[in-house]
Symmetry: D2
Subunit: 338 residues, 4 copies
């Protein structure tokens, strides 16, 4: 860490900062410039709260020099991580993965129809939500574990893997046998208790970026899972909140190459939530693959307009099939398969 003192900082102020740094466990190197004193702290600073130093008298700025995440950082595995699933399927390999399915699992017929379409179109993952806490207490709340059983059955019948969102620690255990990959939603990105428990689970975790989370915060959250020993984390960009209101969120496509530069973890893009509009899903899915996404997550439904939730951003099955063909060409154009 570096503490830059104000130009006219008094010697007692400088001493107080040095004492505080030493107390925080770092060794201090002092550089006294003609106008400004700089204090460099060397040592383990990951758990030091820098803001504490920022409000000390005489301090101008404080900078963290070393990256606050270690396990998630690119330097930890310069060659990159591919998360392995059954049947030799990977996310993060040469092949771009596709994860498709309804926002919510509604009934047997719905999920089996979708599973068939997902397989036929060449995608490898079936997704669907079983727990749907809705803003209205009168709206559909999801089928729960029986829904997951249905999805699991449909997936296995068609040789697909399953992805589903876990919302509470208590759901981890019952979900385990029906889920190949846990999804952590944007609202839970900083639910540290949940992340810690998932660090103990031996299943891959797809971690969505919070609607107002920075890239650094996303990586810190992934670090939390990895600290428990679960290194199979997949990061997901799904749109951030900005001042623009034409789209529900602003999908940060540049987060894809930035995450690849900063981290070794694979990156998934979710153009359904990223845009909130069915007519924007295809162009943004193509943009994401062109920018290097390792997987695409997309909401589909045979009767999209009547979907129990997220109707506006859900593709019809024929739209999805068409999109798969287009993505295959883009993947080829960036040297990958799909």
């Amino acid at each position: 860490m570096i503490v830059a003192m104000q130009e006219r900082a008094a010697e007692e102020q400088i001493d107080a900062v040095i004492d505080a740094m030493v107390e925080a466990g770092v060794s201090v190197h002092r550089t006294t410039g003609s106008s400004q004193t700089i204090l460099a702290g060397v040592g383990p600073t990951a758990n030091v709260e820098l803001s504490k130093f920022e409000v000390m008298p005489g301090v101008e700025r404080v900078h963290r020099i070393s990256s606050p995440y270690k396990l998630a950082g690119r330097a930890f595995r310069p060659e990159g991580t591919a998360v392995d699933f059954a049947n030799d399927v990977k996310i993060g390999g040469q092949q771009v993965a596709v994860i498709a399915g309804p926002c919510a699992i509604e009934n047997r017929e719905q999920i089996f129809t979708i599973a068939k379409c997902v397989k036929a179109a060449g995608a490898g993952f079936l997704r669907g939500g079983a727990f749907k806490p809705r803003s209205s207490p009168y709206a559909f709340q999801g089928l729960g574990i029986p829904g997951l059983q249905l999805m699991h059955e449909a997936a296995r019948e068609h040789g697909l893997l399953t992805v589903s969102e876990v919302m509470e620690i208590a759901q981890i255990e019952p979900m385990l046998q029906y889920t190949d990959c846990f999804q952590v939603g944007a609202r839970n990105m900083q639910n540290f208790n949940l992340l810690r428990e998932l660090g103990q689970a031996r299943k891959p975790v797809l971690l969505k970026r919070g609607i107002a989370a920075t890239i650094e915060e996303l990586l810190l959250s992934s670090e939390y899972i990895m600290a428990g020993g679960n290194y199979d984390v997949i990061l997901c960009e799904r749109g951030i909140r900005t001042y623009e209101t034409t789209t529900r969120n602003t999908m940060d496509i540049s987060a894809i190459p930035v995450l690849h530069k900063l981290s070794h973890l694979p990156v998934v893009a979710d153009p359904s939530h990223g845009t909130g509009r069915r007519d924007m899903v295809a162009p943004m899915a193509k943009a994401a693959v062109a920018a290097g996404a390792d997987a695409i997550l997309v909401e589909i439904h045979p009767n999209a307009d009547k979907a129990a939730s997220d109707a506006a951003q859900t593709l019809y099955l024929d739209q999805f099939e068409k999109l798969m063909g287009e993505l295959r060409v883009i993947a080829g154009a960036v040297g990958r398969t799909l």
Copy 2:
């Protein structure tokens, strides 16, 4: 709801929208202008997903006309709500309330020292956190229920009321006997399951605005609690995320008069989280009272620099005493007491 069709919308497109509106349960009034057709939907639209209509072919824009919140709206109680506590204490009345205490309850001595200071300074509420899920698994995680017991004892000894954050449904029951007001943190503002349960609790709820939540979303979340029959909701502005990085968050002082205009619920301001910097707490607390805040929530600690969490934004006890004096003058200047 109003659906404005595109200028060259085809008659079939218009018919399809009308059908969908009727199906959603509203009666449709059609106005055919020289260039544009407008469809007005009259009826209960609170649970209609408007985004569904936005992506229909030929649609230009969709507007919700009636407010999506009813119970929280100003029209529900034009005279305003004052939340009643024991000892004739109110939040939302003529007197500006002050809620002060440490970020985390650390030990008996700490919380008793603080309680004494809070009382002496003339504040009515003691706050402190018992559950502290931290970004680092090695950091202090809070004392749990025993911590709450300590705070409750300290509060009762000094005639104070207690406020503490509830993070999970399972904590509601054990917290009940030690807590006079539940706080819902910014990260849980849209934890609808938790809000629903608190709607059943017969204790006031202080609901913090999420870091990227709009004022409308905050009111929708309060509606969720009120729908369960618990009308004692206190709204809290605590800073939003913007592009500005000098302060940790940008405290939206204008949210105070806006909330008072849109809703009958009392409004609390939290300048500690709102700014993240000890030296900004006093000016922003004064600004909040000048703008009409019904209460101020502030973090204090006898040894602020060594506080187990949030050290940078925590006031020393003497700073708090000084602030109380200043706030009393500002309260008087806007026709209130403190």
Copy 3:
């Protein structure tokens, strides 16, 4: 326009709003619901300041129903606009155009070297700045008109067209003979005097989105140019300011399909300013083409690190040649050429 009154609005308040609407030149249709009165204003509302109605007593919300831009709207030319240049070159046609060059024209050798490379790589437009008002008064301020002459000479020698930024009305006239397309920078997007003058010029205008401008504001600014009779406007997405700080701006790739939906004007993407980082230019250029961009604008320099300005986001010539090859493949993948 639609004015939704508050639930308990008094009859006098409703009458006052109706009077104000009539005075503003619209005919009013009143719908009295069981709980709420709705006033629909029909007529020319493009110049009506809606905010005036929002603050009238008893008003809940005001909505503009008709689009505030007409000439820029998709309905004006459903088939889309291709801006024509000399030599049968178009922006907005089947071929994706590429506009490349240095941030600033520095000297004869520099601009001729770059022109040769631009041509060899297959791009059609040479860009370069002649006026460079810099934050430091000691920094390089641009070569002015003599710089434009150099660029024009280099472009003509290689059969290229030129794009250069105009910053003041007084520059339009002297720039005319050396410039095939005027660029309006992000900071001037709402310099309405300048836009009005460019509406009189008979040269295409490339209009950059302001760093905090909404898509609607961008279209309103283009309307301003078109109102003068100059319909050859090209819109440019170049990154917006958000809370994320890893990239200098957040490039809003979704603005490309959104603009294509709302408007008939061609859309250019500028990944150099959009990201501010050389290593992010290629992935974001590819994403933009995949999302449907009609042209790419990119900063290049034979000695990028020593460029007089924007060094960090400027590509070396060999990086540009490589990018052209990659973009050609992506263009093919979305059914276009480059």
Copy 4:
């Protein structure tokens, strides 16, 4: 400046960075840690483009240590600056100044009526716009210099000082004799040519923060004026663009104490533009004074609803008189007069 290298940076990469730092004119101190190398650059770095270093191979982060502004920094005049006007009036002194007037000067009667009210209410400054480039070419464009003459005459008759916005360099000279303080609007905050010219003018400059400008950028723009020798700069907070849409902008009240901490320049608050709503002007003006603002700028009009521009945010004269009384009490509560 500090360059933190990546953990596995190669020795050649480190050497290349050192060379580039030396070339940029700084002396380099190298610290080789167990995992990371840190390069500290000492010397004049104000004009060094740090982003250039950020994209060099092997670099993790680059930090500017010394403040990029010197003349505007608090250290330059720790005691603070009060800008002096005629008649012993100051902005930045013990007395809170009030600047009031219409958005646009419309006619003799209007500006004389307003001047009389401004004086009677106890304010010292009359403001009004003479140049009004509007989004619609058919809207009122301002009276120009004759309007300024009217305002100047009205001001002098009532012993007031005048503030008016300058939009182009060519307006400075003709405005000089009628204007006691130049205002630079939010859209021109980074019009460096205009700022440079105002640095030569010997009149105070009220510099508005851009709608998406950081506090640091505002201070850098003020530095530009001061570099020309004009130290009479007054900074103005007038609302920033955020994701919240209930208010037109989010007024960043915390910018007031932050600017006072970072700079010696006086700070004005503009609650009219800051909120865009007449009913929010009073609470936000009070909040600004409570937070330490040195002056308040407010739009008023005898017939606010019919004002030629900014009608929704303009106060009626009686509302202004009432506000003056309230502000006087708040000023007293923070130890100032008004």
